[in-house]
Structure formats: structure tokens, C-alpha cells
């Protein structure tokens, strides 16, 4: 279980990205985080694995305090938390296989990984992960030769290599063609349903939230303005989250 208490983040330039945010995520949940651009969604996700240091507040992951973990402890925590990015964040010049294997770095020793040596088990695991996302035929091509949708699937395979208990997905479909959005979301849903991996996913489109999420939170200017089930987001809630000007759009 992930528990977030009074999380606040103030950037050095004074921007208050998160204000006293508190919520809980039960194991096996598919939590959607919604809100306008700049409402603090990315900051929230990055505070959970401490890619961004929170200013104050606590984050507990299975009763372990993430916010006060030492730098070696945080790496042990990070390896259980997969992350999927909006811009995929693959090392473009490296092969697909190498990119997927980087998901294993938290588990293997530094010396052999510096020499690019991975065990046969890890290699097989990487191939299996690629197979899972439907890219079994592409291990040796360069990452930047893939299409956007394929790159994001490599991103998911990389997260799978970590044997994650939790996946943080930061707008995983925002850079993709709307048609591909469902294919990526289905992979996340499958991991959530079949392997019981908790997913926290920030999303733009409300209908994706309705379709995939089991619960939802909404941020507005860094504050938590909604907590509940996706179906509870009616027109009134919608206007409260996105402002009076906003119109509902749907994809597909």
C-alpha cells in the first residue's frame, strides 16, 4: 500500500507544485491522476520514487518511509517501482535489448553491468518482456528506429524487467497518436489485472480514465481537488477540476 501524507513541493524558483497532498493507493489499484498541464501530476509521480525531492510531507510504501530513505535504500525501492514516461526516455542510440536490460540495473552488480555483462536469465527475461509487449522480433534494432508506439512498448518492457510492484506512468499516451493510446493502455491494464501490479497513471483524456482506472484523484494548482471513483466525475466535478471554460473531448 502506498500512503501519501501532506506532500508539498516548492521549486527553487518559488513555484509551489504540490500543496499538502494526501491520499492512499491500495495494492492492485489502477489509479488515474488527472488535471490540467502544470497542475502537479508529473511532480507528484516523481516524488513517489524521489526523482524529485519533496519539500515536506511523507510517503510510505508498505510501511517503509520513502521520503527519509538513504541513497542506497532509495535505489532498492526504485527497482520495485517501474516508471513509464511521456517522452518514452529511451536511450535512442542503444539497441532495444540494451534499453530493456537497463530495467535490471538495480538488481545486478555495478562492475559486470559497467562491462555490459548480463546473465542468461536476465537476457531471457528481457526477451520474454519484449514478447509480452509484442516486440519479440525487434531486440537488435536501434531504439530510435522504432515508431512512437513501439518505443513506449519498449518503455513498458523496461519497467517489467524490474519485477515492479508498482508502475508510475507519467502521461504514457500523451505523445502518441490517439489510435495507439488504447493499445498502450491495454498493456498497462493487463499488467494490473493479471499480475496485480499497482498502477498510478496520469492521464489527459477523461474517457481513458473511465475506461481503465479503478479509482481517480484530481489535482488543480498543486492541490488535491477530487478523490473517488472515475464514474463520480460528473459535469460539475469536471468543471471544478478543469475550470469553467473546459469542454469534454473524447478520443475514439
Amino acid at each position: 500500500m502506498l500512503k501519501i501524507e501532506n506532500l508539498t513541493k516548492v521549486y527553487p524558483n518559488g513555484t509551489q507544485a504540490l500543496k499538502n497532498v494526501s491520499f492512499e493507493v491500495k495494492d492492485g489499484d489502477f489509479l488515474a491522476v488527472i488535471g490540467l498541464s502544470g497542475s502537479g501530476k508529473s511532480t507528484l509521480l516523481r516524488c513517489i520514487n524521489r526523482l524529485i525531492e519533496p519539500t515536506s510531507g511523507k510517503i510510505y510504501w508498505n510501511d517503509q518511509d520513502i521520503t527519509s530513505a538513504s541513497s542506497s535504500d532509495i535505489r532498492k525501492i526504485r527497482r520495485q517501482i517501474g516508471m513509464v514516461f511521456q517522452q518514452f526516455n529511451l536511450v535512442k542510440r542503444s539497441s532495444v535489448m540494451t534499453n530493456v536490460l537497463t530495467g535490471r540495473l538495480g538488481y545486478v552488480n555495478t562492475f559486470s553491468s559497467a562491462l555490459h555483462l548480463f546473465s542468461a536469465a536476465d537476457n531471457n527475461k528481457a526477451l520474454a518482456s519484449l514478447d509480452q509487449v509484442g516486440l519479440a522480433d525487434k531486440p537488435h534494432v536501434r531504439a530510435d528506429s522504432l515508431s512512437g508506439g513501439q518505443q513506449q512498448r519498449v518503455g513498458i518492457a523496461r519497467a517489467l524487467m524490474q519485477d515492479p510492484k508498482l508502475i508510475l506512468a507519467d502521461e504514457p499516451v500523451a505523445s502518441l497518436d490517439p489510435v495507439l493510446s488504447h493499445s498502450i493502455m491495454k498493456y498497462l491494464e493487463q499488467l494490473n489485472k493479471e499480475r496485480g501490479i499497482t498502477v498510478i497513471c496520469s492521464l489527459h483524456f477523461l474517457d481513458l480514465v473511465h475506461r481503465y482506472a479503478t479509482s481517480a484523484i484530481a489535482l488543480k494548482d498543486g492541490e488535491l481537488v477530487f478523490r473517488g471513483l472515475p464514474k463520480q466525475i460528473d459535469d460539475a466535478e469536471f468543471k471544478a477540476i478543469y475550470g469553467q471554460e473546459a469542454e469534454r473531448v473524447s478520443i475514439l
Partner: protein
């Protein structure tokens, strides 16, 4: 059944290609459809074999005596390379990849051993002769700029002395003695002198004829600035018409234009391949030693370089606006005015400014061969052991070049940025005209001043020196007789290895420093910010001094010869590679670093998996680029005593053996073009 057939077939093909590679390196790879790889392996083997044999016969490199049999131990790595090639073929035919590392290792052994010997590397000299270097270093650290007279004795008043002097002055204490600009500084910057008035002053009725007036007599660094400005102006004016002939899209519209295009491009490439300094040697025979010769040399090379850049710019203009303006019913002049000129003017200006920067750098050393400017001042004094003058000149060069670099960079930035049109309407139109008139007059005055200062004399162009006709006649008579060819090839090999070693050395030192000069990796603490600015400044400082000026320094330190030249190139390489590398590091994508961090990787793993894959290709590409530059530079460092082909060339020029000089220049063009081509191809393959 069918399956076994294919296996036997592949097995036979496999044996066949392995045999092929055993007989002729690269042949097997060629047969297994790896054409480029095979070709490279073959070329490498042939070149290495030639080099090993050459270095044994001419330089006794790697010599070992086995009984009555004299041979070179360098054959051993070559044989190992051959074996690697066979194994590689075997792997290739089985559709497997084979490590390149052993192949590269064996090639490197041969190359570095030969490079080390032909450039006469003796690092111990750097320490043994440190005493000699120290006197130069003392001069550089405490340059002779201000002279102080204490008890009737003149002494150099360097930084510390100046500090005390100013402190005393400010506190109202008595000073140690009166100070004045040193003779050295006067020669470099200039002084006020009583001179007869010029004709125009009399003509305007300002003074009586025959009277004297205090006039500023410019020193050598001011002359250098004038030379650089004039050369940039002339070359820009020349390059504009030339570039139209060298633009394929324009020439394609004219009957027979394609032929003109290839001709123009060919000429531009040949002129560009000959360094400014070599042009200086030729021009001196034409118009005689002096600043004018320097300006012409700079102009010729710069016009060719700009001509190429301009023509490429013309080739890349967007045809959309031309179509649109034509569609409005505009005529040809209007189309050029409104659709073509707005597209090319900013980039032409920006290239000219870039060239100004380069020309200023070249202007500081063109005096070594052509006369004029600070280069002439340096070489004159160094010949008489005047390292004090050299040290002061270095300071002047650093200040001027860093300034020019800064101005040119800022100016280019503002040209290429989206300009927000100023709201001129609010001001009075007369004011705008006045301002424009002011700039025009200022520009004209500067132009006339620089014209006079750089001793431009158009008449000299049409009354060439007595040897010039012989030079033109002899220059194209390429002499390929063995007794001419032999020393040229020998020196060319030395030259290439100097460049090779200098690039390696420069890079080895530049890599760690480039990490310190990368803003995104140095961190946020006060200390690391200091480190960042310090390393950046070191790079800029070292980069502002031309290789030829470093050669002078190293000659004093390690003696005349290829080693001094190599060290000079290594220093310039260090500065440029360091700058380029640090910029490459600053340009890395942070997304993948974030992603690798998120997997729980530690710092080293992050560097290996997210940073290295991103920086290795640009690093290698910059190395090849530097190598290309160094080959060009290595052909001229001989003019200051840095060894290599430049030395041979000056000797031939000095003894009026122009046919041999022409042959050397011919080979330089070929080598430079070859290296340029190879480096560009390799860089292309990397991207």
C-alpha cells in the same frame, strides 16, 4: 533433405570465404556481402604493410636482427591483424558479429609505434629543458608592458609591481619610480609621434603645408586588426558573385551552367585546400613582403571558403516564397528583392562574421611568411631570441582574439535570432537618417584608416615581382622524379603522424576537463561553478592562440623539430576538443538519465547506460573533425620550425625551386582532400 543441402552449402561457402580472407585480407568479407568492411580491411592491411616497410627502411623503426635476417617486429601485429581478419570472416559467414576491438588494437599498435618514432617524441625533454621553458613562462606570466625607472635604471613593471604602484598612488604614498609604456608595448599597440601632416589635411585648409602634427602611429596588433577587417571585407565582396557560379540551382537554369558549376566548385575546393599561410608564400613572390601580401593571402583563402558557404546557402533557399512573390505579378528584380535577398542576407552576414573571427586568428600568424601584423613582429624578434617581445605579443593576441570572438559571436546570435522589428515610426525620420549617415561616415573612416594601415597598393598587383612569372610557370610543372618524391613522401608521412598523435594527446587530456566544463554535470555548489568557469576560460584562452605561435614556444622548450610541432597541435586540439566535448555533454537528453535512475541504477550505471551511449558518437565525430583540422595545420607548422612538410615547402620556396614547391602543394591538396573526404564519410556513418 533440403535443409541438409543448405547447411552443406553454407559450410562450403564458409570455408571458401575464410580461404579468400586468408589469401587476401578483406576478400572474404567482400564475398559475404560486407563490401565496405572488406574494402576497409584490405586498405588498412596495404597501408600498414607499406608503413611498416617504409619505417624500417628509412627510419630503422622496430628493427630487430634475427641471425642474418633484419626485419621489423611491427610485422607481428600486422600478422595478428591478418588472423583477426580471417576469424572475422568466419564469424561473418556464420551471420554472427565479431568484436572489432582486437583489429583496432593491432592497427593502433603499429600506428602509434611509428607515430611515436617519426615525430621524435621525447617527453623527457619537457622536464630536462624545463629551465629554458621557465624563462619563457616567467616572461608570459610577467609580460613586459610597463617600464619603471628606478634610480635611472629601467625595469619591467609586471602585475605585482603595478598593483603596488597603483596602491601607492591611491594612498598618496611616494611611488618607487615613474612609469611609462614599455618599448615593446609601443611597438605592439602604437604611440603618438610628430609626423608631417598629410595632404588631405592641407587640402582642407586645416594646417599649413610642411608643418608637423602629433599623429598616432599604429603598432603591429592594430595593423593585424586592420588586415583581418580588410581581408574579410574583400573576401565577402569577391565571394558573392563567385557563389552564384557555384550554386547548382542557379547554374542549372543557364545553358552550359552545370559545367561552370563543377568548374567553380573545383576551383573553390582547391583554393580552400591550400592554407592561408601557403598562399602567403606565393603572394610574397607576387607583391613583396608586407602587410598587403598578408591581406591578399587571407582574402584568397577566405573568399574560397565563403564562396562555398554562400553557394550552399543559395542552393538551400526556399522556393516557396519565390513562387508566391512571382504569383503576385512581381518582376525578376522584385522577386530577388522580396523573395531571395531576405532569405540569404542574414546567413551571408553571419558567415562573414564567422570568417572575420577566423581571419583575425590567421592574421596573427600570416606575418610569419608574408610580413605585416603581429606575426611579423613575433618572428623578427624570436629570430633574435626575443622571448620577452613574444610573451607580450601573446597577451595582445589573446586579448584581441577573445574580444573578436565575443563580438562576432554576439553579433551572429542577434542576426540569426528572430528580430523584433523596432518601432521606428515613433522617432523622427530625420533622426534615423542622421543615425544612418553617422554609421556610414564612421564605416568609411574606418575603411580608409584600415586601407592605409594594411599598406594596400593596388598597383603592386599589376607589377609582380621578378620571380613571379617563373613561379606561375614552374608551379604547374609537377615533378614526380624519385629524388623529389622521396623526401616529400617522407615529410608527408611525418606530417600525418604529427596530426594523428596530436589529436590523440589532445583528446586524452580534453576528456576529463570537458566533464568539468559541462554545466549540467558540474553540479550546483559554489565550488563547482567556479571549476566550470575556470575550465571554460582555460579552453577559450588556449584556443585564442594559433598553432604557429605555440610552435615558437615549444621550439624554445624542446627544440626545433616535429616534436615541437606535434605538441603545439596537441595544445590547440586540447582546447578545441575540450570545448566541443563539453558542449556535447551539455546537449545530452535528460529524459533517458531520469528513466535509468528510476530503475534504481547507481551513478556509475547511469553514466554507462544513459550518458555514454549519447556522448560517444559526437565524441568520435569531433575527434575525426579535429584530426582533419590537424592534418591541415600540420602542413604549415613547419614554417615556424615545427617539422613536417611545411619545412620542405619553405626550403623549396626559399631556394626558388618552384617546380618542387608546386609538387609539394599538389601533394598537400591531395592529402588534405583525402583526409577531408575520409573524415566526412566516417562522421556521416556515425550519425
Amino acid at each position: 533433405m533440403a535443409k541438409t543441402k543448405t547447411t552443406t552449402k553454407t559450410a562450403t561457402t564458409s570455408t571458401l570465404v575464410v580461404l579468400a580472407s586468408l589469401l587476401l585480407p578483406g576478400f572474404g568479407q567482400f564475398l559475404s556481402k560486407k563490401r565496405t568492411r572488406g574494402f576497409l580491411v584490405l586498405i588498412t592491411t596495404v597501408v600498414l604493410a607499406y608503413l611498416v616497410n617504409w619505417s624500417l627502411v628509412h627510419q630503422n623503426i622496430g628493427k630487430i636482427i634475427l641471425g642474418s635476417w633484419i626485419t621489423s617486429w611491427l610485422w607481428l601485429p600486422l600478422v595478428l591483424f591478418w588472423i583477426w581478419n580471417v576469424l572475422d570472416t568466419h564469424a561473418q559467414s556464420a551471420q554472427k558479429t565479431f568484436s572489432l576491438l582486437p583489429g583496432i588494437l593491432f592497427v593502433s599498435i603499429v600506428l602509434y609505434v611509428i607515430a611515436w618514432n617519426v615525430t621524435a617524441v621525447k617527453f623527457t625533454r619537457l622536464i630536462e629543458r624545463f629551465g629554458d621553458a621557465r624563462s619563457v613562462a616567467t616572461n608570459i606570466i610577467n609580460p613586459d608592458m610597463i617600464t619603471m625607472t628606478v634610480n635611472g635604471q629601467d625595469k619591467i613593471c609586471a602585475w605585482n609591481c603595478m598593483y603596488i604602484y597603483i596602491g601607492d598612488k591611491l594612498a598618496g604614498r611616494p611611488v618607487a619610480g615613474p612609469i611609462r609604456a614599455s618599448d615593446n608595448l609601443i611597438q605592439i599597440i602604437g604611440s603618438m609621434k610628430l609626423l608631417p601632416v598629410s595632404k588631405w589635411q592641407v587640402g582642407l585648409g586645416l594646417t599649413a603645408p610642411g608643418s608637423k602634427i602629433r599623429t598616432f602611429v599604429a603598432g603591429s596588433i592594430i595593423q593585424t586588426i586592420a588586415m583581418g577587417l580588410m581581408a574579410t571585407l574583400f573576401s565577402t565582396i569577391l565571394a558573392i558573385p563567385i557563389s552564384f557560379f557555384a550554386a547548382s540551382n542557379i547554374m542549372a537554369r543557364i545553358p552550359g551552367g552545370t559545367a561552370i558549376y563543377y568548374f567553380a566548385r573545383g576551383i573553390l575546393n582547391i583554393v580552400r585546400a591550400i592554407d592561408t599561410i601557403v598562399w602567403g608564400l606565393i603572394v610574397v613572390v607576387w607583391v613583396g613582403l608586407g602587410a598587403f601580401a598578408g591581406v591578399i593571402a587571407l582574402t584568397i583563402h577566405s573568399a574560397a571558403a565563403l564562396g562555398k558557404l554562400f553557394s550552399e546557402e543559395i542552393e538551400h533557399i526556399d522556393t516557396g516564397p519565390i513562387e508566391a512573390v512571382t504569383a503576385t505579378g512581381a518582376n525578376l528584380i522584385q522577386v530577388i528583392r522580396y523573395a531571395v535577398i531576405p532569405q540569404i542576407v542574414p546567413s551571408f552576414l553571419s558567415f562573414s562574421l564567422l570568417r572575420w573571427d577566423i581571419n583575425m586568428r590567421s592574421a596573427t600568424v600570416i606575418g610569419f611568411v608574408a610580413g605585416g601584423g603581429i606575426g611579423f613582429f613575433v618572428i623578427e624578434n624570436v629570430r633574435m631570441g626575443g622571448y620577452q617581445q613574444y610573451a607580450t605579443a601573446l597577451w595582445a593576441v589573446v586579448v584581441v582574439i577573445i574580444l573578436v570572438d565575443y563580438i562576432s559571436g554576439k553579433w551572429r546570435e542577434s542576426i540569426l535570432k528572430d528580430q523584433t522589428p523596432k518601432d521606428d515610426k515613433k522617432k523622427h525620420p530625420l533622426l534615423n537618417y542622421l543615425r544612418l549617415a553617422f554609421y556610414v561616415v564612421l564605416g568609411l573612416l574606418a575603411f580608409i584608416y584600415c586601407w592605409n594601415l594594411s599598406e594596400i597598393n593596388i598597383q603592386n598587383l599589376f607589377s609582380p615581382g621578378s620571380n613571379f612569372s617563373q613561379l606561375i610557370k614552374d608551379f604547374v610543372m609537377i615533378d614526380l622524379s624519385p629524388d623529389v618524391l622521396q623526401p616529400i613522401i617522407q615529410q608527408l608521412i611525418v606530417t600525418i603522424f604529427q596530426a594523428f598523435l596530436a589529436t590523440t594527446l589532445g583528446a586524452i587530456f580534453a576528456v576529463p576537463f570537458s566533464f568539468l566544463a559541462a554545466k549540467n554535470l558540474t553540479g550546483r555548489s559554489q565550488f563547482s561553478v567556479w571549476i566550470y568557469y575556470l575550465t571554460r576560460s582555460i579552453f577559450n584562452f588556449l584556443r585564442s592562440i594559433e598553432a604557429l605561435l605555440y610552435v615558437v614556444l615549444f621550439i624554445f622548450w624542446v627544440g626545433v623539430g616535429p616534436f615541437a610541432g606535434m605538441l603545439a597541435l596537441a595544445v590547440t586540439s586540447f582546447a578545441l576538443i575540450g570545448k566541443l566535448f563539453s558542449e556535447a555533454i551539455e546537449n545530452i537528453e535528460t529524459g533517458s538519465i531520469e528513466a535509468v535512475n528510476a530503475t534504481g541504477a547507481n551513478r556509475l550505471q547511469m553514466i554507462v547506460y544513459a550518458v555514454l551511449p549519447q556522448i560517444t558518437p559526437p565524441f568520435i565525430s569531433y575527434l575525426l573533425y579535429q584530426w582533419d583540422i590537424n592534418v591541415r595545420m600540420a602542413t604549415i607548422i613547419g614554417f615556424a620550425g615545427g617539422g613536417g612538410i611545411g619545412l620542405t615547402l619553405t626550403t623549396f620556396f626559399g631556394s626558388l625551386q618552384y617546380h618542387k614547391a608546386g609538387t609539394v602543394v599538389f601533394f598537400i591538396i591531395i592529402i588534405v582532400a583525402l583526409m577531408d573526404f575520409a573524415s566526412a564519410k566516417l562522421r556521416q556513418a556515425l550519425v
